[in-house]
Every structure is written in C-alpha cells, then in structure tokens.
C-alpha cells in the first residue's frame, strides 16, 4: 500500500490494538549512535520506551557474520564485485565499504535520493546504525568551538558553551570507554580516559619534529572509543583492527555492544525494527506531539504509537526528512519549523586534503599487532596567536604511520626467489595526514523534500543541495600546504599532496538542518535540544548542530543526548512537558 497523504494514514486504524497497547512513556526514533543513548538514558530513568528503527535488528556478536573471517574466507578477498559497485557508486566510494561490511551499508539503488549537487550520502539502516562502522575518533569540542558562530557571525550563536556540555562529555566517556592521553590542550579538552594506545616509532618522530618546529601545533594519540582494558564488561581490544565488522570481543563502542544492551537490561525498552517513521503526530488542541506514524518496512502496514515525549535520532538528513514530512495546520512546513530554518544550513567536514610521504630511516623498527586508531593534530589555525586572512575557522588532521608490505626496489629482480624474498619483507615507513576542515553554515546548503518522487514506502525523496564554498576551498589550500610542510620538516621524501575533490557527504559527518539556537525565529531547537515550538520533541543527532568545529562529531551527539534526556525527565517531573 502506498501512503498518499497523512490523512489517509490517520484513517488507518491501529491494527486492532487499542490505543493503550500502543502507548509508551517515550518514543525514540532511530537506534544508532545517539538513539542508543536516548534509549539507554530514558529506560534507566524508568520510562517505558519504544525504540523504532527502520532497519533490521543487529544483535551484538550474533549478527556479525564476518567478524572472525580471514580475508581468504571472503569470496572476493574483501573486494566488492563490479556489478554491485556499478549499481551503487555512492556507497562504493566509502572507505569502509567492503565485502566484510557490505551488509551494514545502505545500497544506493535500494534507497534513492536526489543530488541537486553531488553529495555522497552514506547510510546504515539497522539497529546500531553507523555506530557499527564508525571510525571511533572521540575528541571533545573546546571552548572556541561553541563560541565560533558568535565571533564571526556565521550561523546562529550556540545556545550552550563548553561548560554546559563538559560534565556530559565525562558522563558518556565513562560509559563508552575512551583511550587517550591527557594532553592538556584546550582545543580538545581532556576527559575520562583509559590508558592510551601508544604511538609507533615514526609517529613519535613526527610528533617531536612538529612540536619543535611548529609552535602551536601538537600531535597526539587520537582519543578513540577502543578499549585498552576491560570496561563495563566489554573488551579489551585484541588489536585486529577489524572494528567495522562488529567486534566479537566488544573491543570498541557501538550501540549494539553497549547502549542497546543497557537499555534492554532495564526491562523498559520495546524495540521495533523495520519501522519507517512517516511523521510525528501533532495534536492541535494539546499543542504538542502525541506520537508517531510508522510504516512497517516489510508489510507496509501502518501503525500509530503514542508517548509523552519523542526523541528524534534518525541521523541528520533522515531526521529532518521526517520533521519536514510532519505537517499539520499549525506547522504546514514541518513540525517545529516556525523559523523556516528546518532543512537549511546543512554542513559537513572538508576531507579533500591529504598528504603522505615515505621515510627512509627506522628500517630496524617495527610493531606487533594492528592498532585501530592513529594520531590527531588539533586545530591551530585562527587559534591563539595564529591569524589567517584567507579563511575563517580552522581544521585538524588525523593520520598515522605504518610500514608498507614489500620491500621491492629497482634492484630487485621482478620475479622469482629474490622477488619473493623482498616482497615479503616490510617496506618503507609511510605517514599520512588527512585534513578535517570546519565547514561554515550556509542557508543555501540545504535539503528539501521532492514534490513528486517517492520511495517504496511512500516517503518523499530527499533532495540534497550542498557544496564546498569559498571559505572551504581557501582553507583546503592551506590544509595541503601546512600538511606538506610538516612532512618536509620531518624528513619525508616522495611527498604526495592530494586534493581528492570528493563530494560533501563522504566525510559521513553531515550536520545541521534542525539547528540549536537561542532565538526561535532563527533556529529549531533550544539549548537542550528541545524544539522551541513543540516542547516534547527533542532532536539530538547531527541535525541539531549549529556549527561543525573540526572534531569527529559523534561524541558530542552522545553527550548532548544524555544531557537532553536528563533535562526532559526533569521537565516531565515538573509537569512542564
């Protein structure tokens, strides 16, 4: 059955069940990185919580079919067959999409969208969402990041400051388990860390050169959600570096390994997979949201579920899709959209710049095991004494060193015994840095709903209209230049300066479109991720972001989520919601 409009959907009865049976204290839309946290926190506070997830259930360990396979056990040694790549060019560009992870990624072909301009939208439709395949980097945002919009006037001022979120960073870090050093750098404030994964020899060398030759630049162990010791019954990491398949040791944080099991343990969670949320139901009399309309992904039957409070965690673009689709006479342009900002100010991270080079020394040095993280170089541009004239804001680098496989050179015979000997030796050391540039919020980087194209569930297709603009492109030149100058100073040869020219989206850090702000006239959410106009709807995934900073964003979504649940519960206890 195709859903033609909301009225038709509302006319469908709730499949024989009384309203009471479909009523919960809270509903969480989406069971990924932030939704898992919303579920855990609500359930632990005693709320009967329905978690609706559009994809299938993925149970920790049980549903990681490739987790213990060796590369030779995979039919194509981890290569994606040609036909699948041709049919799915967007997801095929994702670094983590392989034969070992294919089942966790959305295929372009099955879930189309409209690219007004090129945008690589990488998605994971299952319980756990993209928390299964994430890169696990977890630097905190610093004081400057929450002040950035106010300072240069791009975007709206964040309604919160670092001190508002700091205790919530600690709160989520203690549960997640983050390895890292206390580096004392205000750009990435210290948190609650497990012992760090050590830098290898070349990483240490690069660190010492950078910190000596380039005042204000620091190279640190990238804090990450990998467990260096057993933590809350999970882990530790076994140094296989196969995280994105799902870890049978629970060696890294995912919703599947951590928050969802915690929510289940309370007995308060009802999980409903295969549930595409059509829209949020707004009651004009009560002036609040009363529930959600759900389309069963398999049968396409429709259901309504009711609750006192709704958390929207469907991932940035899908969250705003369903908010825009939630129309009523009070909100003809999408629920909570008095400002007109809903769908606008889509942001991403500029990942186009990359430098790497070879290092001649340290031929007698090696490592044991496969480290699932690397190094991080926090922001130094337009920070402290540094003032740039060509661009606003700044960028960070993430990177790492390793030895290549094979030590074949011009003098090696190209075939035979000697070739075999050399190709099995460790080759030269290599080190690379990938920039992560802050992207400014622009009104015309936006998503809208197609007026005529629908998906198989009758949902309007998303149109994504987003691009790098002048500030991002000016910054990109500096990312490549500054990266290369550090490698030169550290004695690298064959330095490659790469501009991938990749489209926005491939960073998988899409943010904004339902931004937080102080003023209901210019923003969708207040300082507690609560809709200005609908007090019992909270949005705590990437859609809420008012700026992007230059840190990987998931840790901040998680902290904002825990903080928002705490606030929501207090408000409910005061009968304000």
């Amino acid at each position: 059955m195709e859903i033609k409009n909301k009225e038709e959907l509302d006319s469908v009865n709730i499949n024989g069940k009384g309203k009471d049976e479909n009523t919960y204290d809270a509903i969480v839309i989406g069971a990924g990185m932030s939704g898992g946290w919303a579920a855990k926190e609500l359930c632990e506070k005693g709320f009967k919580t329905l978690v609706v997830e559009r994809g299938r259930n993925v149970e920790h360990i049980k549903d990681y079919p490739t987790a213990t396979k060796n590369v030779w056990d995979l039919p194509h040694r981890n290569e994606i067959p040609y036909d699948i790549q041709k049919e799915n060019p967007v997801v095929s560009r994702c670094y983590a999409f392989g034969e070992d992870t294919e089942h966790f990624f959305v295929k372009d072909k099955e879930h189309p969208y409209v690219q007004t301009k090129p945008f690589d939208w990488i998605r994971g439709y299952q319980v756990g969402g993209k928390s299964l395949m994430w890169a696990r980097m977890t630097q905190r945002w610093g004081v400057v990041d929450f002040e950035a919009n106010a300072k240069d006037g791009y975007g709206v001022d964040w309604p919160i400051r670092y001190e508002d979120i700091a205790p919530w960073y600690s709160y989520v870090e203690k549960f997640i388990g983050i390895q890292g050093n206390r580096d004392g750098l205000p750009q990435i404030p210290d948190g609650e860390f497990l012992p760090a994964m050590e830098m290898n020899c070349l990483e240490k060398h690069v660190k010492s050169v950078i910190e000596k030759e380039f005042p204000g630049r620091h190279l640190v162990v990238s804090r990450s959600a990998n467990l260096t010791q057993k933590h809350n019954g999970r882990g530790p990491c076994m140094y296989r570096s196969l995280c994105h398949r799902g870890c049978p040791f629970g060696g890294y944080f995912s919703a599947n390994s951590a928050t969802i099991p915690a929510a289940i343990a309370t007995g308060n969670m009802t999980l409903r997979p295969f549930s595409v949320v059509h829209s949020i139901i707004y009651d004009e009399q009560k002036q609040k949201a009363v529930g959600v309309r759900v389309i069963d992904a398999n049968t396409k039957e429709t259901f309504k579920y009711f609750a006192k409070v709704i958390f929207v965690n469907a991932s940035t673009i899908n969250t705003t899709l369903l908010l825009l689709n939630s129309t009523s006479s009070r909100f003809p342009n999408g629920i909570g959209n008095d400002s007109g900002a809903l769908g606008k100010y889509l942001m991403f991270h500029n990942y186009r710049g990359r430098v790497y080079g070879e290092y001649d020394g340290m031929q007698d040095e090696y490592y044991y095991g496969r480290k699932p993280t690397g190094v991080y170089l926090p922001r130094f541009r337009n920070y402290g004494d540094d003032v740039q004239t060509k661009f606003l804001r700044g960028y960070s680098f993430s990177g790492g060193a390793s030895r290549s496989r094979g030590n074949v050179d011009e003098d090696t015979p190209p075939i035979g015994v000697d070739f075999k000997e050399k190709m099995t030796e460790p080759g030269p050391w290599r080190f690379g840095l990938t920039g992560m540039g802050e992207c400014l919020p622009y009104e015309d980087n936006k998503i809208t709903l197609s007026k005529d194209k629908k998906d198989d569930w009758g949902m309007p297709l998303v149109e994504i209209d987003c691009e790098h603009k002048e500030n991002e492109l000016s910054m990109l030149e500096d990312i490549i230049d500054s990266g290369a100058e550090m490698l030169e100073a550290a004695g690298f040869k064959n330095i490659y300066r790469e501009n991938s020219e990749q489209a926005p989206g491939l960073d998988i850090h899409e943010m904004g479109t339902a931004r937080m702000g102080k003023d209901p006239k210019t923003s969708v959410l207040n300082g507690y991720n609560q809709m200005h106009a609908v007090k019992n709807v909270f949005v705590t995934d990437g859609a809420c972001m008012s700026s992007t900073a230059c840190q990987n964003p998931s840790l901040t979504y998680m902290a904002l989520t825990a903080r928002a649940v705490d606030y929501a519960v207090k408000e409910m206890n005061k009968q304000n919601i």
């Binding site: 194509h76 994964m197 050590e198 030796e425």
Partner: protein, 161 residues
C-alpha cells in the same frame, strides 16, 4: 540454457569464465613469479589461478576481462614465437627467462592494461591474501591480543598482512 538439460563437457568449458587448463597455466606462471622455496609455499600452492578466475570474472570491468582473456591466449602464442614451445613444455629456467622478456615488454609498452601486468598484480594479490601465503610466508596473527608500538625488526622478519 535449460536448467534441466544435462551439461555436456563442451557446455561447461564454454560457460566457465576460463578453462581449468587456463587456471593450471596461470598457476604455473604464478609459480615462476612467486616460487616455492624451502619451507615456504609458492603461488601454485595458493592456487592463484583460481583466484584470478574468480576476481577477474566478478570484480573487473568487461574491458579488463577482455584484456585478461585474450591475454591468456596471446601468452601461448607469444611463448611459441619466442621459444618455439608451449610454456608448460619449458624448463623452469626457460619459463623464468620468457617471463623476464614479457616483464620487459610490458614495462616498455607503457600500457597499464598490458595483460602481463594484470597477471603479475593478481599473482601477488592472490598470494598475499591466501591462507598459505599469509600464514606461512608473511606475518599473520588472527588475534594479536596486544600492540607493541616499537619493537626491533628481527633479521629476515616478515611484513604484517
């Protein structure tokens, strides 16, 4: 083809991407590129010929498949022309010498899609990612269990795969 019809030998050879004889030939070519050495398996043990069949058939573009398939046929002609014999009738030393001339030709041609380049690259890839290659020739530990960030590389130490 009818699903119920009994397959004849001819059907099998025409429907397979490459023949079993060609897979054997690729294994013999691979074995010259990466030979068995004392206590250390070579490309034939890793069955790189079968690997090439599967990978080229499923993961390469139609154009690349064509280069590969016609390349195998060209290989035997080139071998006949250069040595007067089939590759499999050559001694190990003669095979080595012939592959060296092919290596030179492929490098001189500046054609990134020269079939020999494809076969050599697939040989290395198939060997490194095979169980005998990874576990008996390279350094492979399923579950390392720890990370030592800086350790000396012992004499003759192998690369991690």
């Amino acid at each position: 083809m009818s699903g119920c019809a009994k397959k004849t030998t001819e059907d099998v050879t025409t429907t397979e991407f490459i023949s079993t004889d060609q897979i054997s030939l690729l294994n013999e070519i691979g074995e010259i590129i990466i030979p068995e050495t004392p206590g250390s398996p070579g490309a034939k043990t890793a069955n790189v010929g079968e690997f090439m069949k599967v990978m080229v058939r499923d993961c390469y573009s139609p154009e690349e498949q064509e280069v590969f398939k016609t390349g195998i046929e060209k290989f035997e002609n080139d071998c006949q022309k250069a040595t007067g014999k089939n590759f499999l009738d050559l001694s190990t030393d003669e095979r080595y010498d012939f592959l060296l001339t092919l290596e030179k030709e492929a490098n001189d041609s500046n054609d990134p899609k020269h079939y020999y380049k494809m076969v050599k690259q697939l040989t290395v890839w198939g060997f490194v990612s095979s169980e005998p290659g990874a576990t008996q020739v390279f350094r492979h530990v399923d579950v390392p269990g720890r990370y030592d960030a800086c350790i000396p590389l012992e004499e003759g130490g192998k690369a991690w795969v």
